[in-house]
Amino acid sequence: MSRKLLTPGRAAAGAVLLLLLAALGLPVAAQSPPAPTAPIASPAAPASAASQAQPAAPVSASARRLYDRSRAQLLQIRTLYNGSQASVGSGFVVSAEGHVITNYHVVSQHALEPERYRLQYQTPEGDGGDIQLLDFDARRDLALLRVVAKAGDAKTDPKGVVARMTATPLAFRKGSQPLAKGERIYSMGNPHDVAFAVVEGTYNGLVERSFDPLIYYSGSINPGMSGGPVLDEDGEIVGINVSTMIFAQQMSFLVPAEHAAALLARSRDAAPVKGAAWPKLREQLMAYQDELSKNFLAQPWRTLTHPRYRFPIPQEQYMRCWGSGTSADAQGLQMQRTQCRMEHALFINESLQTGYLGVTEEVYDGSKLGALRFANIYSASFRNERLGAPDRDRTAPYCKEDFVQQKDGPPLRAVACLRAYRKLDGLFDLTVLVTNVDAPTEGALGRFEARGVSFANATRLTRHYLQGFAWTTPR
């Protein structure tokens, strides 16, 4: 699923893999205690070899049948920089006019810097040609392309490559025939630019606690297979390869086919995208953040049990919360942390993912330390919160801070910091830090995070978060 395999060697490819996978899969492992994030994803390579050796004899017959049937529609999508491939992914033909579906992240370099990156396709037979970007859906990580050459046109398609590709385009499985958990489905693509592969696995329903539906597929898909089709026994498209969970076995994720079908229906006749796609991307992100913010603001907060304060903890409808803390017999400062985050982020480019929310609450008990020591150590903890430095994508954080109190809530110190996106005008990253300022040896440190929201939504979310703090027993 990821791209960029060959150029800078394994280590770099691994790093990219980790970044991309984090897009959908697994920030769980990346951020929370169960799995340390240190090892790089380079084990990807041996893992892929193992998974390809796996299929057992009796089922391989249908894998072979499906591959033979669909190989003419399978493509490798290559992003070229100065004639060499900068990244590779997979794609497939879905219409007689030469429409091709792949992931947005496979073509993002071309979409954002069309003057530097060119797109090409390559068939399993090694034939290739130019392909152009018609539209994309950044929220679902999908892109719609069209082969430039015309089928049957002797000038642009002398060998009849395009004619073969578009003769029997792949069809989408009807939404009215849902798959059952455990059904065999087959993922195709070109992992690590090694060779086209067909990988069989099982459909395991949708990922729970995800804002947007995502199919959980048990099968080994690997970098380079991004954008490849996943077919059912009848050869109909069920989903599109998009990401895997790092440090996990055979946990992969697919974009449901209906979104690709919708994208095709919407932009079948669209003109190729001209120039950098930032405005289109901005428009899509604006719509997405509006929907997400509205949905989140409509949810009431859950409360964390604490004798003194009520902390805002989000519903776990599309966020996952993890708890941790110091051991009960720890000396000195005691801390309990609850960390909630959306695990689905939107891929923008190599260095930027956005479109998610997160809440962290830390409760400190310094009764063993005394007021002075607690104040000092707790301040260090409050100071430690990172807000990010200015970079290519976003500005430095600008903060507003003050003492805040609701009519029936505890006095708080609130810091709201925003970073503006440089190329996505009007989108911001919001970080709100909140701490209580009424107890000499008790600390409640909250952090709310929203990536890629409009300024208006940033202020709404800040208000919503601040209003979530209250006394446990009204005074």
Binding site: L19, A22, P27, A30, Q31, G332, L333, A345, S351, L352, Q353, G358, K368, A371, R373, A375, N376, I377, Y378, A380, F382, R383, E385, R386, L387, G388, P390, D391, R392, D393, R394, A396, P397, Y398, K400, E401, D402, F403, V404, Q405, Q406, P411, A416, C417, L418, A420, Y421, R422, D425, G426, T431, L433, V437, D438, A439, R451, A458, T459, R463, L466
Partner: protein, 356 residues
């Protein structure tokens, strides 16, 4: 012997190193023990030169002649005054840079510097006007070794050690061993001692005075003052909700460091205190400009993004605001952020997760 005169032996800096009283004219200068002014300079002949007192032509009343000679000494040596006569030698001499070969004669006015061999001589006679007595500058007064009472330095050291101990105590959660505590205490003290010793060595070189106490006093005063401010500023900022007060911290640190350097340097070069002030002040300004230059993309030129110090709640004087006021205040961030976003920055960013 009718004209009192002295010959000054001058060192390379132009200061008088030694002085020789002329007891009789003519005066013989050379390496030989028979000379009146014996110079141990290997580049001199045994008797290298003679200095005469030329009475000038027609000998007249000594009183008037003395006045004339004084007036005309430079312009007309013939009118009377000291005359240099070089005796046979290899190296001859230079009078104010002009070459004199062996055997030549020349008037030697008191403004002229004579170099024979590698030795430089100046002649001063009773005819020369004596400059008025110069008032002394403070730097030339004897160093007051008891500028502070003797208990001041140990007391300040004790205050500092106490501050260090309290700071260290307050930042650890009780898990530190006594070894950690002692080393956290000794390390800064050791650095201060080494710093003072180095300054004392420099003072030794320039002023022949191992001014350890003076330098240690300066370090301690500066460090204690800065440490006290470092505690007081955030607490004040918290009490009155004045987060921008923290910008002073950076200023205080750099200006304080510059002042300390200047204070050290005035011990070593007391005459140059104004020049030092200009130099160190300029360094401080350049340093601050560089600091600010690195932060032009930040919200504030100086100080942290937000006030992080949270002293015990009893210290808070500022009253909290309603949530709506706070949200309203956020609006002011939008315009500067959008303006900032227009600027280009090629700094590569991390992944979206770099802030967690």
């Amino acid at each position: 012997m009718d004209h009192a005169a002295v010959i000054e032996i001058v060192d390379r800096d132009g200061h008088c190193r030694d002085i020789h009283k002329v007891r009789a004219w003519p005066l013989r200068i050379g390496r030989s023990p028979d000379c009146d002014l014996v110079l141990s300079d290997p580049h001199l002949a045994g008797v290298h030169a003679l200095v005469h007192w030329d009475r000038g032509e027609p000998a007249t009343e000594p009183a008037t002649e003395r006045g004339d000679a004084a007036l005309d000494a430079r312009a007309a040596p013939a009118a009377g005054g000291p005359v240099l006569e070089l005796l046979p030698s290899h190296n001859g001499a230079w009078l104010d840079g002009a070459r004199l070969v062996a055997g030549s004669r020349a008037a030697w006015p008191s403004s002229a510097l004579l170099q024979i061999g590698t030795t430089r001589l100046r002649l001063r006679t009773s005819l020369d006007p004596l400059p008025a007595e110069k008032p002394m500058s403070r730097a030339d007064e004897p160093v007051k070794r008891d500028a502070r009472p003797s208990w001041a330095l140990p007391a300040l050291l004790a205050v500092w050690a106490l501050m260090l101990w309290v700071t260290n105590w307050a930042t650890n959660d009780g898990s530190a061993t006594w070894v950690d505590i002692v080393s956290a205490l000794l390390a800064p003290v050791g650095i201060a001692l080494i710093w003072s010793a180095l300054w004392a060595l420099v003072t030794q070189v320039f002023r022949h005075w191992f001014a350890f106490g003076a330098h240690l006093w300066r370090v301690l005063v500066a460090v204690v003052a800065m440490q006290a401010l470092e505690v007081a500023l955030p607490v004040l900022a918290y009490m009155f909700n004045l987060p921008r007060l923290l910008a002073l911290e950076t200023l205080v640190m750099s200006v304080g460091a510059a002042l300390l350097l200047w204070w050290h340097a005035t011990v070593v070069w007391p005459r140059a205190s104004r020049g030092l002030a200009v130099g160190i002040g300029a360094m401080c300004v350049v340093g601050l400009v560089l600091t600010v230059g690195r932060r032009t993309e930040q919200q504030y030129w100086l100080g942290p993004n937000y006030m992080a110090t949270l002293p015990p709640p009893a210290l808070r004087i500022a009253t909290p605001k309603p949530v709506d006021d706070f949200i309203g205040g956020m609006e002011a961030l939008e315009a500067p952020l959008l303006k900032q976003a227009q600027k280009r920055n090629d700094q590569a960013g991390g992944s979206g997760d770099n802030d967690e």
